[in-house]
Amino acid sequence: MKQFWAMGGYAQYVWPCFALAGAIFAWNIWSARRYHAAARRRAARALAMADSEAQ
């Protein structure tokens, strides 16, 4: 196990790459979900306003 984490002496180069890949994937998920949720909220607000104006 220790040998695996040591990556043949290249641990300081290999692991940050995979950590950054994880961070980039996580950022993508977080930011896409946030963007979608915000767009839904805006659309719902616009619809509610249109409804109240129609009444």
Binding site: Y10, A37, R40, R42, A46
Partner: protein, 244 residues
């Protein structure tokens, strides 16, 4: 034939397709990425020259490839929006840009981390590295140009134009290692004939490729839905989409 195409490219149809595809892309991305990671980090043997440092390939090459693929998709989608005035083209282009830019950052940083032990430097003004950096600036340029306009449709057109002009950089990135003397190695997998790689190393890499593609697909579906909602707020069909 065109009526069918326009119907397929209509915002509600694309919105529903994206919503339906999202769980499938996510599930298969998780599967292929897991296989690629375990295969690449655990089961693939160390390289005979680079030792375990070669394992960076499993994130570097797929992200670099995706950075070029996303840019090409963004330019084609922008061109479709610009030439045929199909609105969904601009929405796809806008949704693709941040995902592509994030993959470009990943490709640049992992390349730099790989360069240090192999070339002795984090960075060199090498044709491949420089053209990839220009790609990142192009992404930033396209994104800021789109948001610089108050009028969304003018921003779309300007961003589409810039992304089409920037496409010239894609073959430059790809062939830079052939055209000029480069520190960067030439293609190992994407070339005619047999790839220069053992199968135990190649399968996890192909799985990571597929995983990156599927993940990109999932993120595009999610962002595209948001993009369409932002653009179609006034349309009647949005009422059903938001309420469900």
């Amino acid at each position: 034939m065109w009526t069918w195409f326009y119907k397929l490219a209509s915002p509600p149809s694309v919105y529903n397709t994206a919503a339906a595809l999202l769980p499938w892309f996510t599930a298969f991305a998780a599967l292929t990425l897991s296989y690629g990671l375990v295969g690449g980090l655990v089961f693939a043997p160390p390289d005979y020259q680079q030792g375990d440092a070669f394992r960076i390939i499993y994130v570097h090459v797929p992200s670099a490839w995706m950075s070029e693929f996303s840019y090409s998709l963004m330019a084609v989608a922008g061109a479709i929006g610009l030439i045929w005035r199909i609105k969904i083209g601009h929405a796809v282009a806008a949704a693709t840009a941040p995902i592509g830019a994030s993959f470009t950052v990943l490709a640049l940083v992992t390349g730099s981390m790989w360069g240090r032990p192999m070339w002795g430097t984090y960075w060199a003004w090498d044709p491949r590295l420089t053209s990839e950096l220009i790609l990142l600036f192009l992404y930033f340029g396209v994104m800021s140009l789109r948001s610089a306009y108050e009028d969304g449709s003018r921003g779309d057109r300007a961003a589409a134009l810039l992304s089409i002009v920037g496409v010239v950089n894609i073959p430059i990135i790809h062939f830079s290692v052939v055209w000029w003397n480069s520190l960067h190695q030439a293609a190992t997998v994407a070339k005619f004939g047999k790839p220069d790689m053992a199968l135990s190393m190649l399968w996890p890499l192909l799985s990571m490729f597929l995983g990156f593609m599927l993940f990109f697909g999932a993120m595009l579906c999610l962002r595209l839905q948001g993009e369409i909602l932002n653009r179609e707020r006034q349309s009647a069909w949005v009422r059903d989409a938001v309420r469900t």
